[in-house]
Amino acid sequence: MDISVTLRGQTHDLALKNPVLTASGTFGCGLEFAPYGDLKSLGGIVVKGISLLPREGNPCPRVVETAAGMLNAVGLQNDGVEDFCAHKLPSLPWRDTPIIANIYAASTDEFADLAARLNVEDGVAALEINVSCPNVAKGGVLFGQDPVLTAAVTSAVRKAAPRKHVMVKLSPNVTDIALMAKSAEDAGADSVSCINTLLGMAVDLRLRRPKLANVLGGLSGPAIKPVALRCVWQVARAVRIPVVGVGGIVNAHDALEFILAGAHAVQIGSGNFMRPDCAFTVAAQLPAACEKIGVKSMEELRGTLQNGSALQRKHPAMA
């Protein structure tokens, strides 16, 4: 079965042999997972967030498990874009699998510099803009929580990286995610991915301390799947560019739910921690899962969710 998809952007398309990508920050630079599956079998690899200069990130503890999910406050630790281009990218199978660089910066200008740097790397197929990082310049507001800032960052990256597909990763911590998506679309984004983590917190009752050194962290995993699905559905109805679904996907069934809700592709995040072959398995099992529901291509399923108003539960006649 052909489960390839193309993310048809406003400027650049991104062709994927299957709709299963890995989510940034949960799959290292990719090579960490090579022992558990064939990286070339993935639709694409979104590498962990990259900044212009190396960043140490937040102090530990940075991760904590929660009911059907986890919180993280890694805080953008990475060795910077030069290290990525020199040491990581060359080892990745970028000729066979699109490598998507997840980027963040503290200002629009810095975003542009970073995008320009990656624009010249043949190994990078697309840029995913992480607009959920703190905008240091604007006093703690996040780029992704303001439609004007979202547009500014998107168009800066769009201009600085004319050779690349530009994907904007949306934050769910907003009153109206569709508004942010439209802003990104209007500013030239080729696609949007949603969602990044939900802002959360955990405390240690005995020590009377937050469980994360950073106090606040991002919630991910199966717990947030209903929120992610809702965001994908809202965004897919609001924009014409493709939507990539992220949030709580751990198997092929989950992935197809997102496609049904309107996603063109999906990303596997925390699922990679449940089993390091999670993303590989989702990609491998997708054809069989499609067959089971009588679907022959991704287009046939995508966004075909029927209206709920006519809902009536169907039961098997007799069991």
Partner: protein
């Protein structure tokens, strides 16, 4: 000489409680026997990530455990119940599915001809079971074991067979002082012969060992049991800060992954 890790889906063979049951009939220490995965080899100090299917979606993370022991057909882990995951592991029944990936991390140094002192605190004894078994000249090794629960809660039989094991149970603050005194003496002896000290146990224990190592200039490795979400280098949750003695200059004073650059570190190369 990296050992390539493998992911296996194994049926649990047996969970055996160790030591006496608590006041409510509950056990806290268990050996978990699994079929041996198709690993070629592994190094003591290396660990594996273990996730029973029974974790469902509620506990998304696997749990890290030192590889205790392997036989031709079996892999044995040894664990203490201390939270939601280990509580469920204690309830595993024959045939229940367990996902396991490993061997992971780097393992303890083996210097067959150096006098080697093994320092274990509580569950920190686990990696030494395999170490003693694998050591080509076990007569060059000895162990000091500090513990709070009765000795039969721990997997000591396998160690006893090969090497001398001094165990000190800590039930009062005085006994702890006594243990620390002995620890210092033993490390001093070892350092004087330019021996190798290997330590595994809770953080305060490792901090004590690290302080003595510095004082006595004892060549010392410690195994750090940091919280781990992935075990493979992806989550960046298991970081440890290095000292100025870290071998590669660009990482000096920076953060390294306990799951990849560790879990065994030279004591002088990390900050605790």
């Amino acid at each position: 000489m990296q050992i390539k890790p493998i992911l296996s889906r194994l049926p649990a063979l047996e969970v055996t409680p160790f030591g006496p049951a608590g006041p409510e009939g509950e056990y806290r220490f268990f050996a978990l026997r699994l079929p041996r995965p198709s690993w070629k080899n592994w190094r003591p100090g290396q660990f594996l990530m273990l996730r029973p299917a029974a974790f469902g979606l509620e506990l998304p993370w696997a749990r890290p455990f030192s590889i205790c022991h392997t036989t031709a057909r079996c892999l044995i882990c040894f664990f203490q119940v201390c939270g939601r995951g280990t509580r469920r592991m204690a309830q595993l029944k024959h045939g229940d599915e367990v996902n396991v990936w490993g061997p992971l991390g780097n393992g303890f140094a083996v210097e067959p001809d150096s006098q080697t002192l093994l320092l274990a605190g509580g569950m920190g004894i686990v990696p030494f079971v395999g170490y003693v078994n694998a050591h080509p000249k076990p007569w060059n090794t000895s162990m000091l074991f500090g513990h709070r629960e009765p000795l039969k809660c721990y997997p000591v039989d396998n160690i006893h067979e090969y090497i001398p094991l001094d165990s000190l149970r800590e039930t009062t603050p005085g006994e702890l002082d006594n243990f620390i005194f002995t620890l210092n003496e033993r490390m001093r002896d070892c350092a004087e012969q330019n021996g190798l000290v290997l330590a595994c146990g809770p953080l305060p224990f490792l901090q004590t060992v690290r302080n003595f190592a510095r004082e006595l200039k004892a060549r010392t490795q410690i195994l750090l049991e940091n919280t781990m979400a992935c075990g493979v280098g992806a989550c960046l949750g298991c970081m440890t800060r290095t000292s100025d003695a870290w071998p590669t200059p660009e990482k000096r004073g920076g953060l390294v992954q306990a799951c990849r650059q560790g879990p065994v570190f030279w004591a002088d190369q990390v900050k605790l």
